[in-house]
């Protein structure tokens, strides 16, 4: 029971991160109808940008000119969010805009290409070996119910709080503000939106900026050790977690922000449970089966409910 509850707590934290990633996918998909396969590379880049600002663990001598700032962890995250949002806007206006209205295949390949380039740039600048962030929260945890009770990491609590406040803020912006209304209008009918004086290019840029900022936040939270199945390090392998955003958005419905958050949470919990019971199930399904679980779930959902929990049903006209 303790194991189950522990996994549940870790799963909620991991699911919150998946929710951020999935929200990033949904925002981009709604506005530009692109499935962003570069999200993994952007997420990792974001974590490295935080590393640039926050610097390595104090006392380690790392002769890389890229991080002379050594700022506070939280300040570094805010700065990285701004930098990566600008990067997202730049990416949209430089590359993505040219693929508007092109076949799905070209768009997928374009985002894959961006991912390849970003991965190469990262190994150019930072190499491929993992680096450590100087974490103020560390691996401190509170225990509930004695020594054998549930242990909750501070970083998990922090993650859930951050994601919850971002989700509230996002829905407030998305439903109430001018920008959110403009985004929804553009997604619904681009021509009508233009006729109302909304500039689609601003909306597209803003969605990519938002998506990149969310990915950055997800990346730095993963690299800080939230969700307990990750090593608390910044490394190129972080990108693999972004792919789990696909099952999350499929579960929630690819064009539904609330679905993305719920889908992310469910996928995170299921995956952490599978990881937690790994010693018991690995003799039947193999080692590190938990990495496969979200994708198996995705197939099942796609075959039986392709529009997910909240997505709009696809209608095809001949």
């Amino acid at each position: 029971m303790t194991q189950f509850l522990n996994a549940l707590v870790g799963g909620i934290a991991l699911g919150a991160i998946y929710a951020l990633i999935a929200l990033g996918f949904v925002i981009v998909y709604r506005s530009t109808h692109i499935l962003n396969f570069a999200q993994g590379a952007i997420l990792t880049l974001g974590a490295y940008v935080v590393y640039v600002f926050a610097g390595p663990v104090k006392g380690t001598n790392f002769a890389n000119p890229w991080h002379a700032f050594r700022l506070n962890y939280f300040v570094a995250i805010v700065l990285a969010l701004i930098v990566m949002a600008a990067f997202g806007w730049f990416l949209e206006s430089l590359v993505i805009r040219r693929f508007k209205g092109q076949p799905v295949f070209a768009m997928i390949m374009a985002t894959l290409g961006i991912g390849i380039i970003l991965a190469a740039l990262k190994s150019w600048i930072w190499g491929t070996s993992p680096v450590n962030l100087d974490l103020p929260l560390g691996d401190k945890r509170i225990r509930i119910g004695g020594l054998n009770g549930i242990a909750v990491n501070y970083i998990d609590i922090f993650t859930v709080c951050v994601v919850a406040s971002i989700a509230v803020l996002f829905f407030f912006v998305f439903q109430r503000s001018r920008l959110g209304t403009a985004m929804r209008a553009t997604a619904a009918d681009q021509e009508a939106a233009i006729a109302q004086g909304i500039s689609p290019s601003v909306i597209f840029g803003a969605s990519w900026a938002l998506s990149c900022a969310l990915a950055t936040l997800a990346g730095v939270l993963l690299a800080s050790g939230a969700g307990s199945i990750t090593a608390a390090q910044v490394s190129p392998s972080l990108g693999a977690f972004a792919l789990v955003g696909f099952p999350a958005i499929v579960l929630g419905g690819v064009d539904s922000p609330e679905g993305a958050i719920l889908g992310g949470l469910i996928i995170g919990i299921v995956q952490t449970l599978a990881a937690s019971y790994e010693p018991k199930i690995s003799q039947y399904v193999g080692v590190s089966f938990w990495q496969l679980v979200p994708f198996l779930l995705m197939i099942v959902i796609l075959l039986f409910r392709p529009s997910g929990l909240f997505g709009t049903k696809e209608v095809r006209r001949v």
């Binding site: 290409g113 390849i116 600048i125």
Partner: protein, 423 residues
């Protein structure tokens, strides 16, 4: 041999002139009717091209020794001075293996319009199937012949891939791409966990078989164990030389199969499904059959490519068949030309040769700040630059030449046909 500059210039100009003349021929006239479209050789240039290709195929590994010119194998020579050096022959072998996989993937993505990122899963299957059918399985104490287990790898790939067809009936575009990710993860998961067969990633099995062909009794040609390879009046062949012929031979067969497919009813059905699957269904194209068979064909080519890959290397690791490997194949068909057989081959050559071309530029490269010779350290190493260039190429081709090398070739031909006038 040193030629005077003037001779070289005259030689180069005459080659260019010949090429222009050959390309101009008939390319100007628009194609009128099926008979014209289905001619074997549309221009004199294509005849010359075929001749040059066959000559290159035969002589690249051994030079012209078979007609009595030169030695069997000269080390460290580049393309113009045949034969090629070992490292370039290796590039050639991988280009051929990639080309087989890329032709299969192009039939699926380029001609049937089904986006799949799961190609490396089928290559993984083909690679490991050689371990059983080529090595573990013995009938009456003897291994089964080389070409047979390559064929079995293809059949296995086709069977597994055909199982994806029904999924493609319900899922399109983005969704199919997401589902195909599972194939890669599943294949890797099985390869990692079936330790008794694959050896996992800790001790990957190193006994994957080399191809042995018995063309005449008593004289088997072993393509990998060089000590036993006897060919061409007792000349010894290195494995890379043997595999160059073997793999490019299979590329030729694959290209002919692919081209025939596209020229036939099946190919037209595939393209109809790509352009609009509902309309295709309305005019009587069976969607289920067409999609399933397209997946099967692509899987068969992937299985054969995987078998050759494993057999040439002798050992493979589960980590080789990651998502990046699939993306590599999709990049090949984008760079080469979506929906074109020649394009698949050109793209495969470009991707396979990229790293070695970069290595040629080392004298210039080493002057760039940030250049790093040690591949383990952060910095601009060969592999980083390779990855960077490959990504940049992919994006640039998508933006500016969406029809790849094949499209560029068409444009060049059209430009030459009307020269000096535009169009």
């Amino acid at each position: 041999m040193k030629l005077p500059i003037a001779t070289l210039v005259v030689l180069a100009l005459s080659v260019v002139g010949l090429a222009v003349w050959a390309l101009r021929d008939r390319a100007a006239a628009p194609v009128s009717g099926y008979a014209e479209e289905h001619r074997r050789f549309k221009t004199v240039g294509s005849k010359i091209g075929l001749f040059a290709g066959v000559l290159l195929f035969i002589s690249a590994p051994v030079g012209f020794s078979w007609i009595g010119i030169g030695k069997v194998h000269l080390p460290n020579q580049l393309i113009p001075g045949l034969p090629m050096s070992d490292s370039w022959l290796t590039v050639g072998v991988f280009a051929a293996i990639y080309a087989i996989g890329a032709i299969g993937l192009n039939l699926l993505i380029g001609n049937t319009g089904q986006i799949s990122l799961g190609h490396s899963g089928f290559i993984c299957l083909g690679a490991y199937s050689t371990g059983y059918f080529g090595q573990d399985l013995t009938i009456g104490g003897k291994h089964i012949p080389g070409l047979l287990w390559i064929l079995i790898a293809g059949i296995l790939g086709a069977l597994l891939s055909a199982a994806i067809g029904p999924f493609a009936l319900r899922l399109r575009g983005n969704y199919l791409a997401m589902v195909s990710l599972l194939l890669v993860f599943l294949a890797q998961h099985i390869a990692l966990n079936w330790v008794s067969f694959t050896g996992g990633d800790v001790e990957p099995r190193t006994d994957l078989p080399g191809v042995t062909l018995t063309l005449w009794p008593g004289k088997p040609i072993q393509f990998r164990d060089a000590g036993d390879a006897i060919f061409f009046n007792d000349y010894f062949l290195k494995p890379v030389q043997g595999y160059f012929w073997l793999c490019w031979g299979i590329v030729a067969v694959a290209a002919i199969v692919g081209r025939n497919l596209l020229r036939s009813r099946q190919g037209r059905a595939m393209m109809a499904v790509r352009d609009r699957d509902l309309s295709a269904e309305v005019i009587g194209v069976r969607q289920m059959y067409t999609k399933t068979s397209a997946f099967a064909i692509s899987g068969a080519f992937a299985g054969i490519a995987g078998a050759l890959y494993a057999s040439y290397l002798g050992t493979v690791q589960p980590a080789s068949f990651a998502l990046d490997f699939s993306i590599l194949f999709v990049a090949m068909i984008v760079i080469g030309g979506v929906g074109s057989i020649q394009g698949s081959i050109l793209g495969a050559i470009a991707i396979a040769a990229l790293l070695d071309v970069i290595k040629l530029t080392e004298p210039i490269l080493s002057k760039i700040p940030g250049y790093q010779a040690d591949p383990a350290k952060p910095g601009l190493t060969f592999s980083v630059l390779n990855q960077l260039l490959y990504g940049v190429l992919l994006i640039l081709f998508l933006m500016f030449f969406p029809r790849g090398f094949a499209g560029l070739w068409q444009r060049l031909r059209r430009a030459l046909a009307g020269w000096p006038f535009a169009g």
